[in-house]
Amino acid sequence: MAVRVETATSAATERVRSALTGRRADVGGVVFQIVLLLTLVFALAVLMVLLIDVARTAIPYLQERGAEVFTSGYSSLPANSGIKYGLVGSLYIGAFVLLLALPLGVFAAIYMEEYAKDTRLTRFINTNIRNLAGVPAIVYGILGLAIFVELLGPITGPGSTAGKSLLAGGLTIALMVLPIVVITTQEALRAVPSSIREAGFGVGATRWEVVRSHVLPYATPGILTGSVLSTARALGETAPLIMVGAVTGFLATEGGILESLQQRFTSLPTLVFAFVKKPVEEFQQLAAATILVLIVFIFLVNLTAILLRNRYERKW
């Protein structure tokens, strides 16, 4: 019985539909949908083609040379060149972002969202943050060159380093991602409902107690996602590092962590730039291998962010 009713209904639906559309299928609509799908497929296919193109060159090269690529420094002979100092430099850059840009950005966002009243100064700071996020990376490179290399050179990199040190590079990148951290943290804080805060104030908690024990725990996943994505951005950035003098050639590192902060440096993307410029096929292969390492690095960081978001996503 139920089946018969259903067939009757769907037959009726069909009749109504064909009467309305004049028995014509919506060809234009289907074509439109296919064209839209193709644009999306194209955007994703670019990533695939890029990855395949890089991997096809990089994997045989890495198999041939093995771990040696990761343990040797730069050399004018491609067969002796490696990415060791690039890896070290990129890890340092990541550390600058996590230890400097992340706390400062979170502090600034807490002030803007939880403490600041709607004054002219607050609005001016907000406009500033938004504009800083849109400033091209290379302009931060010029800022780093003027302030950390030329003005503070004797502190950031004394002697023959002439200020073009890891410290200058790390500070420049940290300043560059700071506005992004602030904006994503502000969004995460804004997503915490005000009833949570009111409940805290209702039992007599101070503003700092409410922020520390109620707002921050709920906002943590959002903050983490934002900072992880900023770290990914920082790892791939090249232009500002080149401006503050990241080395594209030989590099001699001596001493411990603090000494190397004041010495010249390089990073994975800077090495890619150095290798790509050389018209020798072996250097192009080495560039592909460096890119593969860099991409794996960045995609892992991104994956962490996506997993964090899916794990802790919460609807109020």
Partner: protein, 286 residues
């Protein structure tokens, strides 16, 4: 705690001031040293004291125009599909991939442009007498680089259009295509415009692709032909700071990078402020 948080927020103003001061300082130094007649000459050759601003400005326009011609249709099409046609499950799966695509570093895209776009696309269509280092390849690569950004921001805007508007449209008998184009797109116009302006501003500031693929090492004559090598503002800055063009000393060449940086900063600032103002004006509250 309040004081600590306030100082962190105040840092934003300090950074802005530091950017303006360091750019303006170098730019004034440049203008006092350079012969101002060379700002309008035959080309951009800093080492020969020729600082034709229109060469690098037109180069930047050329590359970003090609980029936005690539990024706008692909980015908006992908956004419309994700927001209006894709099922909830495939959207949940595809959106993160699109966002991952947005994190591809620009040096990587530059390598791809050099190895794939230039020989396999540009030279195939325009003949092999086109040099491997050309502005068209750089523009296409910059376009592919900013496409995910445009798609992601535009998709957020389309997704935020309330479902009741779509239901009203469908209830009046509109097809899905009509609903997408006549209801969702107009309702999301502020976000879509913001996405395009952000993409353009990002394309103008993009450096590594043009520095590697643009073919403007050492300088460039004034040219509006995208199939030749050329120089953009960003590429001019990097080549002044590195490599063969590295110039120091008393001449105007080195401070000219601050001058170009100031122009670039003002250009993107105007675009970003314009985008923000435009969005605020046309934003509708639902």
């Amino acid at each position: 705690m309040r004081g600590l948080f306030f100082s962190a927020a105040f840092l934003a103003i300090v950074i802005s001031v530091a950017i303006v001061v360091s750019l303006a300082g170098g730019a004034i130094d440049f203008l006092s040293k350079a012969d101002l007649g060379t700002l309008w000459s035959r080309g951009w050759f800093p080492r020969r004291n020729l600082f034709d601003v229109k060469t690098i400005f037109v180069g930047t326009l050329l590359v970003s125009a090609i980029a936005i011609l690539v990024a706008a249709p692909i980015g908006l099409g992908a956004a419309l599909y994700l927001s209006e046609y894709a099922s909830r499950r495939s959207r949940r799966f595809l959106k993160p991939i699109l966002e991952t695509l947005a994190s591809v570093p620009s040096v990587v895209m530059a390598f791809f442009a050099l190895r794939f776009i230039s020989p396999e696309v540009v030279q195939r269509f325009f003949g092999t007498d086109v040099p491997i280092f050309n502005m068209a390849s750089a523009g296409l690569a910059v376009g592919l680089l900013v496409t995910p950004l445009v798609a992601s921001v535009a998709e957020d805007a389309m997704h935020a259009v309330p479902g009741s508007l779509r239901e009203a449209s469908v209830g009046l008998g509109a097809r899905r295509r009509t609903t997408s184009l006549r209801v969702v797109m107009p309702a999301a116009v502020s976000g879509i415009t913001a996405a395009l302006i952000l993409g353009l501003s990002r394309a103008i500031g993009e450096t590594m692709i043009v520095a590697i693929v643009g073919g403007g090492t050492g300088g460039s004559l004034f040219s509006i032909d995208p199939l030749k090598g050329g120089q953009t503002m960003t590429a001019a800055i990097t080549s002044l700071a590195t490599g063969s063009d590295q110039v120091r000393g008393a001449g105007p060449a080195y401070p000219s990078l601050f001058f170009v940086g100031l122009l670039l900063f003002l250009l993107t600032l105007i675009l970003n402020l314009g985008a923000e103002r435009f969005v605020r004006r046309v934003r509708r509250q639902y």
